[in-house]
């Protein structure tokens, strides 16, 4: 296992370097002078010159890239132009909030999605199966920002069960105080992925139901519940793990929208404000963190794949 992990980590290096090149170049791909784009049309010549020097724009591009990369590796991610603070500390602080939201959403999505899919597959063709399919189709087609608003209206404003915005009550608090705030955004973010997982789980389990070893298990007199749990579900796990892994990118992206609806102080709200203010150092910081997290998530998926299926060799 260890050599496999080391090799996978090494393969990540060129991918991460590629990510860094794309993120670095984003500033240089802007139409026109980057300093002018950032400071706007009313900027004075001296402020433009100062910013050019701060961003190193007066150097050749490869020198700029190496300088920037050295900064990224050593923890100097530059300063946010709009917020006048260290990009790394801003991004890191907000990223934790996004991670909490994403993890909660993924847990709900996997739990509810796989359960719904397994339920649906084990009752294929019945009315319950059709209802489950309809539920997953609706979940899959609901825009997260719309679902969020509906949940806010129903469970926040009308019923008053959960707070509608923010991560903590006014005045702050601990993890326990955060939980009621987490429910609505996490459910909103989980809906689409949960629905996709339910469809996927159902389809794979239906495939496994038709295989020979399942017939054999039934023929030797195993009760249906044991057949489903031991022979069908376990074999359906592999594609499910893949889909969960693929959805991590969707979760991180979807979080941007959900955070905006619920004023969740995560990286998404930070990113949107940075884009509107054309605060490029901050945009680059956010992109770098999320893309790196995504690359790591894919690594975790591959490792999980190996752990779930003994047939996949990691030698």
């Amino acid at each position: 296992m260890l050599p496999y992990l080391v090799r996978r980590l090494l393969v990540m290096v060129p991918t991460l370097l590629g990510v860094s090149v794309v993120v670095f170049l984003s500033l240089h791909l802007t139409p026109g002078d980057p300093a002018q784009v950032i400071l706007g049309p009313k900027a004075t010549a001296s402020s433009l010159a100062a910013l050019r020097q701060e961003l190193g724009l007066d150097q050749p591009v490869h020198v700029q890239y190496l300088r920037w990369l050295r900064g990224v590796v050593t923890g100097d991610w530059g300063r946010s132009i709009q917020l006048k603070a260290s990009v790394l500390s801003l991004v890191w602080q907000r990223f934790q909030a996004t991670l909490v939201l994403s993890a909660a959403a993924l847990l709900i999505a996997v739990g509810a999605g796989v359960a719904l899919g397994a339920f649906s597959a084990s009752r294929a063709g019945t009315l319950a199966d059709r209802a489950a399919i309809a539920v997953s189709l609706v979940g899959y087609s609901l825009p997260p920002f719309f679902l969020g608003i509906v949940l806010q209206v129903v469970f926040g404003l009308r019923l008053g069960w959960f707070p509608v915005t923010g991560m903590l009550p006014p005045g702050g608090g601990g993890f326990r105080d955060m939980l009621p705030h987490l429910v609505l955004p996490a459910v909103t973010l989980a809906a689409g992925i949960g629905a996709l997982l339910a469809r996927m789980t159902r389809a794979t389990m239906m495939d496994v139901f038709g295989q020979d070893h399942v017939r054999t298990a039934r023929a030797k007199g195993l009760v249906e519940r044991a057949v489903t749990a031991r022979h069908v579900f376990r074999n359906a796990l592999l594609p499910i793990v893949t889909v969960v892994g693929l959805q991590i990118g969707y979760v991180l992206g979807g979080a941007v929208l959900v955070e905006q609806v619920f004023s969740w102080p995560g990286i998404g709200t930070l990113a949107v404000n940075a884009i509107l203010a054309r605060d490029f150092p901050l945009v680059q910081g956010v992109t770098l963190v999320v893309a790196t997290a995504y690359v790591f998530a894919n690594l975790v998926t591959d490792v999980a794949y190996v752990l779930v299926d003994p047939r996949v060799s990691y030698a």
Binding site: T30, P31, P143, F145, A203, V256, L257
Partner: protein
């Protein structure tokens, strides 16, 4: 010669029967009818005699649905919601279909060339695709908006660019398997130009998976474009666009929830209909799909 004259007729018959099977199922037919009605209303918006979608009268502000003269109510500026929804369909559907069209055109061209030509071209296109796929979709779209600047056209470009790698993958896979087939070899041996072979033989035989992916993608991209406008990065008020309308209405959720709910329901229904049609199309065109 006789084969050449008979083939189109047979193909036409086959196409008609596929279409009949496609719409023969009630859910698919209902989805198709609903989408057709929305598209038709969007196209005919200027001639439907609807009130101005941008200018309203403050006397009529926040009227609930079923008010005489305003079947879907009015918004905070007294603008007719029905009119805004219909005019908004032009923008939202236009951006969704436009973005998919763009992503398909660029992605499929690159993918077919990449799979068919192989070699160094394929290598570099694939490295680029791998690199773009290292970014989550929404993040990539956001990065492109950051580069180009906010706005409706830039948003459409951004979500199209973010979708390109997906179509490169699909088209390349088809081209890779088709280039070894006898009819492609035969066309090559008879001296046909590469562009002709790609268009006539490779593209036409790769259409099914591309069509299924694109149908399912239109809904996704309509949602993505509305999401960008919702974030304030796409269409800007006072333009009637579903994402903008949904976002504006949030301030009035307590007193006038319909201002947000009406455009939200429209996005949901259109995406649902497109997903249902996409699923149906996949069941018909892809024999491997488990359409159970």
């Amino acid at each position: 010669m006789s084969v050449a004259t008979v083939a189109p007729a047979a193909a036409g018959r086959r196409r008609r029967s596929t279409l009949r099977r496609f719409l023969g199922e009630p859910v698919a037919f209902a989805s198709f009818a609903f989408l057709a009605a929305v598209v038709l209303a969007a196209l005919l918006a200027p001639w439907l005699g609807l009130p101005d979608p941008v200018r309203g009268s403050l006397v009529d502000r926040l009227k609930p649905p079923l008010t005489p003269g305003h079947p879907l109510g009015t918004d905070e500026f007294g603008r007719d919601m029905l009119s805004r929804v219909v005019w908004g369909a032009r923008v939202s559907l236009g951006v969704g279909f436009g973005a998919v069209g763009l992503a398909v055109a660029v992605g499929v061209t690159l993918g077919l060339l990449s799979g068919y030509l192989a070699g160094a071209f394929d290598f570099w296109v694939q490295r680029l695709v791998d690199q773009l796929m290292a970014f989550p979709y929404v993040l990539l779209a956001l990065l492109v908006v950051a580069i180009l600047g906010p706005g409706l056209t830039n948003t459409m470009l951004a979500i199209a660019i973010a979708g390109v790698p997906y179509y490169v993958r699909i088209a390349r896979g088809s081209a890779l398997s088709l280039r070894e087939r006898e009819f492609v070899e035969a066309a090559k041996a008879s001296g046909a130009r590469t562009a002709w072979i790609l268009a006539r033989h490779v593209l036409t035989n790769s259409l099914s998976p591309i069509l299924v992916a694109a149908t399912l993608d239109v809904g996704f991209m309509i949602m993505a474009a509305a999401g960008m406008s919702f974030l304030g990065l796409g269409a800007q008020p006072p333009l009637a666009e579903w994402g903008v309308m949904l976002s504006n209405g949030r301030q009035f959720l307590r007193v006038a929830p319909w201002v947000s709910l009406v455009p939200g329901v429209m996005i949901f229904l259109v995406v649902l209909a497109l997903n249902l049609l996409g699923d149906r199309l996949r069941d018909l065109l892809d024999p491997r799909a488990t359409g159970r």
